[in-house]
C-alpha cells in the first residue's frame, strides 16, 4: 500500500470523489425507508405489508441506478445530495402509503390512493434526473437558453389560466389521460436559469451603473427593466391564479439572486419593501388570502364555521398530539385533517407519528440539501453556476420554509408541496431535476483542474527525494 504524498506544487492528484460514501448513504436511505414501510404495515395491520419487497426493490433500483449514473457521469459530484433526495422520497412514499390505508380519508369522495402513483412519479423524476446528468455535460450550456427559458417560464405560468381552478387555485393543467401537472414547480427551475443567465451578463451594470437615491443605489431602468418586467408578470399571473406560495417563492428567489449577483445590500431593503407592499396589497383584495390569514391568526376561533381555520386547527392538534416522540408510524390520527392530508399537510403526519424528533430530523435533512446547494454555489468557479446553484437552493429553502412554516402556523398557509415528501407528480419530478442540476454544478465545481502539460521546467522544481 502506497502512501500518497503530495510533493508537487501543482497537483495532479485526484480529489476524493466520495462515490463510495454516496453509495453507502443511498443504501442507508433505502433501508430506512423500507423500515418505515414495514413499520406502517405492522402498526396498521399487524403484519409486514405485502408490497414491502416490491417497494424496497423499486426504491433501491431508483437509488442504485441514479447512483451509477452519478458515478459514471458526475464523478466529483456532492455525495450527499442524492442520498438525501432518496431518503426524503422513500420516506415520503411510506407516509403516503400510510395515509392510503386511512379509512377516514377513504370516505372522502376526492380521495384516491396515491402511493403507487407516487412511486411511478418518483421513477419519472429519477429518469429526468438521469436525463439531466446525461444530456447536460456542463451546466454552462444552459446560459445559451437564457431568453428561451424566459419564454418557457412565462408559458408554463400562463397555461394554467386556461384550465379550471381546483381547490381555489388555478395552478394545474389537466391533460386528459395523463392527469394534472403543476407547471409552477417546473417554472421554478426554468426561471432560475433565466435569472442566472441574465444577471450574469448584467450584474456589473446593475451593481455599478446606478444612481444614488435616498441613500440607496438604484440601477438604470434599461438594466433592471427586463428582469423586473418578467418578475412582475410572473407575480401577477400567480396572483390571478391565486398561487401565493409560488409567487412568494419566485420573489424570494429573485431577491436572493439579485443580491448575490450585485453584492448590494440595498437590494434586500428594496426586496423586503416590495414584498411587504405586495403582501398587504394582495391580502386586501383577495378573499382566498384573507381566509388564510384569518385561519393563521386564530385557527381555533373558526371551529365549525370556517373551513380553513378548522383545518389549520386540526393540523396544529396533529402536531401537538405527536408531542416529543410521536405516536409511531401508522398509530396517529393525522388523517383527521382530511382534505390534502397527504399533500400540503403531509408534514403534520410526520409531526404526529414521528413527533418533534421526526420533524426536526426532516427539517435538518432539508437544511442539509440547502447547505450542500449553497456549498456548491460557493465552490462553483463560474458566476453562472454560482447564481444557478444559489437560485435553486435558495428556492428550495424558501419552499421548505413557506410550506413547513405554513403548516406549523408560523406564517399564513399558502398551498405548496413539501419537496419529495408530498404526494404529487410535478413536485417530485421537478425536484429530482433540481437535484440533478445541483449535482451537475457540484461535479463541475469539485472536478480537479486538469493536469498541466509536463514541462521540463516543472521537472526541475521537483523535490529531490532519496
Amino acid at each position: 500500500m502506497s502512501v500518497v504524498t503530495n510533493t508537487t506544487t501543482i497537483g495532479a492528484i485526484d480529489a476524493p470523489s466520495r462515490r463510495n460514501t454516496e453509495l453507502a448513504l443511498v443504501v442507508f436511505a433505502v433501508a430506512i425507508s423500507v423500515f418505515a414501510y414495514a413499520n406502517v404495515g405492522l402498526a396498521l395491520n399487524g403484519e409486514l405489508p405485502a408490497g414491502m419487497l416490491g417497494y424496497g426493490a423499486g426504491l433501491a433500483l431508483l437509488g442504485g441506478v441514479a447512483h451509477l449514473v452519478v458515478r459514471r457521469f458526475a464523478k466529483y459530484a456532492d455525495p450527499l445530495l442524492l442520498p438525501l433526495a432518496t431518503l426524503l422520497n422513500g420516506l415520503g412514499l411510506a407516509l403516503i402509503w400510510r395515509l392510503d390505508q386511512s379509512e377516514r380519508l377513504a370516505r372522502l369522495p376526492s380521495f384516491a390512493p396515491a402511493a403507487s402513483k407516487q412511486l411511478l412519479f418518483s421513477a419519472m423524476g429519477v429518469a429526468l434526473f438521469i436525463g439531466v446528468l446525461l444530456l447536460l455535460k456542463d451546466h454552462r450550456i444552459l446560459q445559451r437558453y437564457t431568453y428561451i427559458s424566459m419564454v418557457v417560464a412565462l408559458i408554463l405560468l400562463i397555461l394554467p389560466m386556461f384550465f379550471p381552478a381546483q381547490f381555489g387555485a388555478k395552478i394545474w393543467i389537466t391533460i386528459p389521460g395523463i392527469g394534472s401537472i403543476q407547471p409552477g414547480e417546473f417554472a421554478k427551475i426554468v426561471i432560475a436559469i433565466f435569472f442566472s443567465g441574465y444577471l450574469m451578463v448584467k450584474r456589473d451594470a446593475l451593481a455599478l451603473a446606478s444612481r444614488r437615491f435616498m441613500g440607496m443605489y438604484l440601477p438604470r431602468g434599461r438594466d433592471l427593466g427586463p428582469i423586473l418586467a418578467i418578475w412582475a408578470m410572473s407575480i401577477l399571473i400567480l396572483v390571478f391564479e391565486t398561487d401565493l406560495g409560488t409567487s412568494l417563492l419566485f420573489f424570494g428567489m429573485f431577491v436572493v439572486m439579485l443580491y448575490v449577483a450585485t453584492e448590494r445590500t440595498s437590494w434586500i431593503v428594496f426586496g423586503l419593501t416590495m414584498s411587504a407592499v405586495g403582501a398587504v396589497g394582495v391580502a386586501s383584495f383577495e378573499p382566498h388570502v384573507q381566509d388564510r390569514v384569518t385561519a393563521w391568526l386564530d385557527p381555533f376561533a373558526g371551529w365549525g364555521t370556517h373551513a380553513a381555520s378548522e383545518q389549520m386547527a386540526q393540523v396544529l392538534m396533529a402536531f401537538g398530539s405527536g408531542g416529543t416522540l410521536g405516536t409511531g408510524l401508522g398509530q396517529g390520527n393525522s388523517d383527521l385533517i382530511l382534505f390534502a392530508a397527504n399533500t400540503d399537510f403531509i408534514l403534520a403526519t410526520v409531526g404526529e407519528e414521528l413527533g418533534l424528533a421526526g420533524v426536526m430530523a426532516f427539517l435538518l435533512l432539508y437544511g442539509l440539501i440547502v447547505e450542500r446547494g449553497v456549498r456548491t454555489a460557493l465552490a462553483a468557479r463560474d458566476p453562472f453556476g454560482k447564481l444557478l446553484a444559489i437560485g435553486l437552493s435558495g428556492a428550495f429553502a424558501i419552499q421548505v420554509f413557506v410550506v413547513a412554516g405554513g403548516v406549523m402556523g408560523l406564517i399564513p398557509l399558502t398551498g405548496m408541496t413539501m419537496p419529495f415528501l408530498a404526494a404529487g407528480g410535478s413536485s417530485v419530478i421537478a425536484n429530482w431535476a433540481l437535484i440533478g442540476i445541483l449535482i451537475r454544478i457540484s461535479d463541475t465545481a469539485r472536478r480537479p483542474a486538469p493536469a498541466p502539460a509536463p514541462s521540463t521546467d516543472a521537472e526541475m522544481t521537483q523535490v529531490v527525494r532519496p
Binding site: 443580491y259 401537538g320 427539517l363 460557493l378 424558501i398 412554516g405
Partner: protein, 485 residues
Amino acid sequence: MNKPLRRVAIFCGILVLSLLIRDNWLQYVRADELTSHKYNRRVEIERYAHERGDIIVDGKAVTGSAETEDSDFTYKRVWKNGPLWAPVTGYSSQAFDSSQLENLEDGILTGNDDQLFFDRTLSMFTGEKKRGGNIVTTLNGDAQRAAFKGLGEKKGAVVALDPKSGAILALASTPSYDPSVFAGNSLKDSENRQKLLKDKDKPMLNRALRETYPPGSTFKVVTAAAALENGLYDDIDAKTESPLPWTLPQSTTPLQNEGDIPCENATLREALRVSCNTVFGKMSDDLGNKKMIEQTDKFGFNKEVFTPVRADASIYPEDNRPQNAMAGIGQASNRTTPLQMAMVASAIANDGKLMRPYMVAERQAPNLDPVYTHEPEELSRALSGENAQKVQQMMETVVKDGTGTNARIPGVTVGGKTGTAQHGLNNSEKPYAWFISYAKTDSGSPVAVAVVVEDGNANRDDISGGGLAAPIARDVMKAVIDSKK
C-alpha cells in the same frame, strides 16, 4: 460573489432555525394544551379505544362495554338494566359526554387516572391491553329494585342510607331512562336523546339528588329535634303549651290541622303521631328562625352534598316569623332533596351522629386491586344521643299506631314520619307524598329511607304520605334487612 453567498447561507440557516424553533414551540411547549384541546377528537378516540371499567353493585357489574363498528370509536358503554341504575351511574355517551358517576369517576373508568399510574406502567411492560378500572358502589341491588318496584309508574324518588356509615343503599328516581339508547354517536342516538330531553316528565332528572321538594310534615321531626336540642321541651310525654286554635304570628290566620285531631297541649309524642300542625308551627315560632337554621345546618341543610355526585342544597331560609312558623311544619319556603330527608332519618337512627353519605365504596385498578377504599366519616353531630333516642321513640310511635302504620315490618322496630306537602298556587297542584323512616334490629339501625311520590293523593289527607310512600319505604327497608340475613 462569495460574501453575499455566505450571507444567503446564513439566511437559509435562519429559515431552518426558525422552523425548528416553531416546531419545538408547537410540539413541546404547546403539546399538552393541543393534545387535550376540547376540539381534539383524539381525546375521544383514545377514550373509547379501550374497554371502559365497570360500575359494580353487589359484586356484579351493572355496566359493560360493547364494540361498535360504524365509527372511529371502538367501544361504547352499555348498561345492564339501564333504567334501574341510571340514577346511580349517570350516562356516558360517545357524543354527549357523561354525567354523575360515569363522569366523576371517568379517570378510573378509562384507566387514565393518576391513581392508576403504577398499574399502567406495569401493564406497559407486560404488554397487557389497556382497560379501565372499576368503581364498586355501596348500593344494595335488592333495595334498589324494591324502590323501583314501589315507585312503579309514579313520579318520585327513593333514597336509602346505612345510618352507621352513610353508605347509599338505594337511589331511585322515576321515571327513569336507559342511558344505553344514546351511548353511541349515531343519528339515532341523537334522536333518542332529544326525545328524552323533550319528555315533559323529565326522565333524565335525578329526583333523588337534584330536585328539591317542600318536605311537608316529615320536617316536623327536624323541628322536634330543634326543640329538644334547644331545651324548649325535655320530656316527650309532657304536655306542650299549644293552644288550639293557634294563630300564626303577626297575622289573624289560624293554622289549620288536617282533620279533627287532638292537638291542644298535646305531648310531643302525640303531636308527631297525629301530625299536629299547630304544635310544631308554634314550636318553630318559639325557637325562632335562627335556631331553626342552626338545627337544619347540623342535619346538612343549606349546602350542597357530594356523594360524590352532587346533590342540590336543601334550604331552610332566613324568613319572617309567619313564614318561619310555616317552615317548621315543612310547608313554607324550605325545600329539601330526598337525600336530605334520608340524612335526617339516618342521623336520628344513628343516635344523632350524621354520617357523610357516599356511594363509592372502592376504586379498583383494572387488575381488581383496590386503589381507594372509602372510610365512613362523620359529617356532623345533628343532636345528642339522648335526644336522638327521644325522637326515635316518637317516630316509632308514629309507625306503631300513628299515621305511618303502613311501614310496619313484623319483628322489626320501625320509626317513621309521613308527610303530604302542598304546593302550587293556593295548593292547586297535587301534593307530594313523603315518608321518612328507619328500621332497627338488635345490632342497631341498618337502613334509613326517604321516599317522595310526586303525584300524591288528591284528598290532601296527611295519611296519603302513609298510604303512598310508606309501603315503598317498608319494602326497601325489608329488602335491606333480608339481604343481611
